[in-house]
């Protein structure tokens, strides 16, 4: 793969901004809640601007890795501080920047332990950024854990609905994933005989025998797959999403689950293509089960956040299906779907967060007629629901479309089943919209004030992104294509 070294370390700047924000928050006194929030807004805003800049500044004609930074970190082990941006991770960085910023804005009305919340939130996002940009197995693992361990406190302190149970379950599940990933990484590094954690060096064909690739792949697939919500390892996800506070749900469903899928792609598929080929049918079956299962379980839920949680399982199944097709289109669709689903879930949780803050309930039977009481907030909610269904003109549509086109060529039966699953998703999403936003309004909710312009800003940003990439999907597809087609060329 070609590498374009950066003349300015933009990627590290992204991390440094996050860490600087973290320290600024730590050194502010806890009483100054407004200052802390403003610091959060400013620093997260800078990261969003940088991530947008990177997305635009990436030269699609040259392709390959750009903005590369590479420093030998631990010589005796062959660990490099190695960052680079390509068509796979730029969409993810953009997603993280947007969700991070809108997440901070969505927590504007937080008033308990503000300082600790934002400090942990920044720490978590630092890990997410680091993971997406890193090309060294050691750092990928480090960032993976950095992005996970603040989760426990974030959910257990500021969450709702069985928060301690949800937080513990989530933490143990996800770190069980890391228990599978670390041995696999060490195994790959060791059997390669290269004494390096450098992902690109390990990618060279012939580094690992097919048998070794199969062995390592299954550990990496399950390890990262737990985080991606692959059925049957998904059970932490709805529980965790429901328990988490709004912005944590946003980052969590919006970005963290993508880390899982991205890890499968970056570590599993990149390093063990033979293992990928071998296990692709298994991946496809699990993904299809996830799609159908998520849809049917979502159908029976009464809690709004559970509905979104199970729809996430279903939608992440589409990502898994795309990855399992072994085609360029499949990868394109999967990465696109990761981006679109991230933005969509962020909007979903953000608008549910508002509804919950105001009505103090997220049970569907207790809500009704919201579009009459709070039309603007209801609009965001309905938009998210429509995106989730995959209405053309909104971002998710393209991801799903491309994945299914790829899937029908390779696994026609599974494709049909998955489409059926999507129909069920559409059914329950529409049912939820109908029950909460239409019908007679509940009397004790009629006094609720609609979302103000300032509070609505994060939802606005997310809505604009959804519509923009729904109308101009080629911006994203061209970007992903630069990475996926060259990846397939590099395969033996």
């Amino acid at each position: 793969m070609d590498m374009q070294y950066a003349n300015f370390p933009y990627l590290s700047t992204l991390l440094i901004v996050c860490i600087a924000g973290l320290f600024t928050i730590l050194f502010l006194p806890g009483r100054e809640q407004n200052k802390i929030k403003w610091v959060g807004v400013v620093f997260s805003g800078i990261t969003m601007v940088i991530s947008i800049f990177l997305f635009i500044a990436y030269d699609k004609n040259i392709g390959g890795l750009q903005f590369v930074e590479r420093v030998l970190w631990v010589p005796s082990l062959g660990i490099y501080y190695f960052n680079g941006a390509d068509g796979f991770n730029l969409p993810m960085l953009l997603l993280t920047g947007i969700v991070f910023f809108t997440g901070v804005l969505s927590m504007w009305e937080l008033d308990t332990r503000v300082k600790e919340f934002f400090a942990l939130y920044f720490l978590m996002v630092t890990g997410v950024f680091g993971l997406f940009m890193s090309l060294d197995l050691f750092f990928i693992f480090v960032w993976y854990d950095v992005s996970l361990f603040p989760m426990y406190l974030l959910i257990a302190v500021w969450g709702s609905t069985r928060k301690e149970y949800g937080a513990m379950k989530l933490t143990l599940y996800l770190l069980a994933g890391s228990a599978l990933i670390l041995p696999a990484i060490l195994y790959i590094v060791n059997v390669s005989g290269l004494k390096t954690f450098d992902l690109l060096a390990l990618m060279a064909p012939g580094t690992l025998t097919p048998l070794q690739q199969k062995f390592a792949f299954i550990f990496i697939y399950i390890g990262f797959g737990i985080l991606a919500g692959v059925w049957p390892f998904h059970t932490w996800s709805p529980v965790g999403h429901v328990a988490a506070p709004t912005s944590v749900s946003m980052v969590h469903a919006g970005v963290l689950m993508k880390i899982g899928a991205f890890g499968v792609l970056r570590v599993g598929i990149f390093l063990c293509p033979e293992g990928w080929r071998y296990f692709a049918p298994l991946m496809a079956v699990l993904a299809t089960v996830g799609i159908v299962y998520g849809a049917f379980v979502g159908l029976t839920q009464k809690d709004l956040k559970y509905v979104i949680g199970y729809s996430s399982v279903s939608h992440m199944g589409i990502v898994g299906l795309g990855l399992s097709t072994l085609t360029v289109e499949g990868l394109n669709g999967a990465v696109y779907q990761m981006f679109a689903h991230g933005i969509m879930t962020a909007l979903f949780f953000s608008s549910v967060g508002y509804i919950y803050d105001k009505t103090h309930t997220k049970m569907i039977p207790e809500l009704g007629g919201l579009s009459r009481i709070i039309p603007v907030a209801a609009f965001y909610f309905i938009l998210a629901a429509l995106t989730s269904i995959g209405v053309p003109g909104l971002a998710s549509f393209w991801g799903e479309l491309v994945v299914f086109i790829a899937c029908f060529k390779v696994y026609p039966v599974l494709g049909v089943l998955s489409i059926c699953g999507l129909v069920v998703t559409a059914l329950f999403m529409l049912r939820v919209v109908q029950k909460t936003c239409y019908g007679p309004p509940k009397e004790h909710h009629t006094h609720i004030r609609d979302i103000s312009f300032a509070i609505g800003v994060p939802r606005m940003i997310l809505s604009v992104v959804i519509i923009f990439f729904g109308l101009f999907p080629s911006f994203m597809f061209d970007m992903i294509e630069t990475a996926s087609s060259s990846f397939f060329k590099g395969l033996p």
């Binding site: 890391s178 041995p183 195994y187």
Partner: protein, 473 residues
């Protein structure tokens, strides 16, 4: 002609100990004076140990080796002593008139461990090991609540005495086959005869004494009881400095086999797995923090053993790094729980309630240390685990590492419970802020920085660890 300059670190600590002996003879007890003296002398001790880090040579008829390995461990031990003395400012659980004796025994125990890491003769190993153990027996007993500490001491002593009797038997067997008590001769002879059952038995019996120190299964039964009965500072000392010395001597002895014995490796793998699992599973149900940390240190003995049983350079240097990590992390945990249990009583989960409000910096230190013990990056604990695990993978022990990682997940559960007590549980009645003088804040901040910095920039420490273990290849 003996070159006494090589012996200066030990001489310094001997003089320090003598000083406390004199202090104990003074008629008037003065806790503050004793504390200040101990703090100053141990701080200088770290400097003395650091100054001697590059020394090399043999003294006492080649029975005593000064090399990078021993000197690095002497620095670690003197650091351990200094850190423990840092948290002795309020030594409420020990009668005031006994304070000079307490410091005396601490210093002597450290001195004995320093001699231990330099010993290359079976007799010096045995004598220094016994000396340190006896100091610890008395230290465990030194507590105002005699009833509890007495039963702990007796149990500790009986298991310790049994272990050292077994060890002496093992040493005798080794000696009878090799015909020399110098480790250098054993290294040369052992690989040729290591497949004989009696030699293997000799080695295992010898290892028993060290396993007792490190608290490896099946010699771990004393640990929870001793931690529980001893005063908090003594428990902290046993958990940190004593473990460091045990790791050092285990590396020296295991390295004797030259990695030629599959049988030895297999047994060590079993012991390591059982130690991890037993330690972690027992820790889950503990409410008493010292007992919890005791069981977790049994588990950590298992992890450290992974590095040692890999019997390659990466494994030995990984184990050295792990010893450092354990020292810092365990100390930080003890530091916080000792500060939380203000009256010198045994700290329980209840003492941590509301810690995040009573002292945010201590709560943060606890958080970082717990995640470090659990091996979550970016902490020194993770780097240590990475090093030992990658050494084990090099030897092809994939499933050992997998089991160890599963154990890490189990251990995370109880570390999170502790964290929950500090960050989520609100106290039954509102408690005042913990008195945190500047010194405590600085120490906490220093430990947090050390844990995270050594996790992110481990390269220099790894280099030192590799240089220290270069003598074994």
């Amino acid at each position: 002609m003996i070159n006494w300059a090589l012996f200066n670190t030990e001489i310094y600590f001997l003089i320090t100990a003598a000083g406390f002996l004199v202090l104990s003879l003074l008629p008037k007890a003065d806790a503050h004076r004793d504390y200040q003296t101990a703090l100053a002398l141990s701080a200088i001790g770290v400097g003395v140990a650091l100054a001697g880090i590059t020394q090399q040579g043999d003294i006492f008829a080649q029975a005593y080796r000064i090399d990078m390995f021993s000197q690095v461990f002497k620095v670690l031990l003197s650091m351990g002593l200094f850190l423990i003395i840092c948290i002795c400012s309020e030594l409420k659980s020990i009668p005031e008139r006994l304070h000079p004796e307490f410091y005396f025994l601490l210093v002597i125990a450290t001195l004995a461990m320093m001699i231990l890491v330099s010993s290359v003769h079976l007799l010096t190993i045995y004598i220094s090991l016994e000396l340190s153990s006896y100091c610890l027996y008395i230290l465990v007993y030194l507590r105002t609540e005699h009833k509890r500490s007495l039963s702990a001491t007796i149990r500790y002593f009986i298991i310790g005495a049994t272990a050292s009797a077994v060890m002496l038997f093992g040493l005798a067997i080794l000696y009878s086959f090799v015909g020399s008590a110098y480790l250098i001769d054993i290294v040369n002879t052992l690989p040729a005869i290591i497949d004989r059952p009696i030699v293997i038995i000799g080695i295992f019996f010898t290892l028993a004494g060290f396993f007792f120190k490190l608290a490896v299964f099946p010699f771990h039964f004393w640990v929870p009881e001793a931690y529980h009965g001893a005063s908090n500072q003594v428990a902290a000392y046993i958990a940190t400095a004593s473990k460091v010395a045990a790791i050092a001597i285990l590396i020296r002895v295991i390295a004797l086999s030259g990695g030629h014995s599959e049988y030895l490796a297999k047994v060590l793998i079993c012991l390591s797995i059982i130690s991890m699992t037993v330690g972690n599973l027992s820790a889950i149900v503990q409410k008493d923090l010292k007992k919890l940390l005791a069981y977790s240190s049994i588990a950590h003995a298992g992890y450290a053993l992974i590095g040692i049983l890999s019997m390659n350079h990466a494994g030995y240097s990984g184990a050295v790094f792990y010893a450092l990590a354990l020292l810092i992390l365990k100390f930080t945990c003890f530091f916080v729980v000792i500060k939380a249990a203000t009256e010198g009583q045994n700290p329980t989960m209840a003492h941590l309630a509301g810690l995040h409000q009573r002292s945010p910096i201590l709560a943060l230190a606890l958080l970082v240390a717990l995640f470090g013990l659990a091996g979550i990056p970016p902490t020194v604990g993770f780097t240590g685990k990475l090093l030992v695990f990658s050494a084990a993978i090099q030897q092809g022990y994939f499933f050992l590492v997998l089991i160890a990682m599963i154990n890490v997940v189990i251990s995370l559960y109880y570390y999170i419970l502790v964290l929950k007590a500090a960050y989520l549980t609100e106290p039954d009645r509102p408690l005042s802020e913990l008195p945190t003088p500047m010194s405590v804040k600085i120490l906490a901040a220093a430990m947090i920085t050390a844990i995270v910095a050594a996790g992110f920039f481990p390269v220099y420490l790894i280099r030192i660890a590799e240089a220290a273990t270069a003598v074994f290849i």
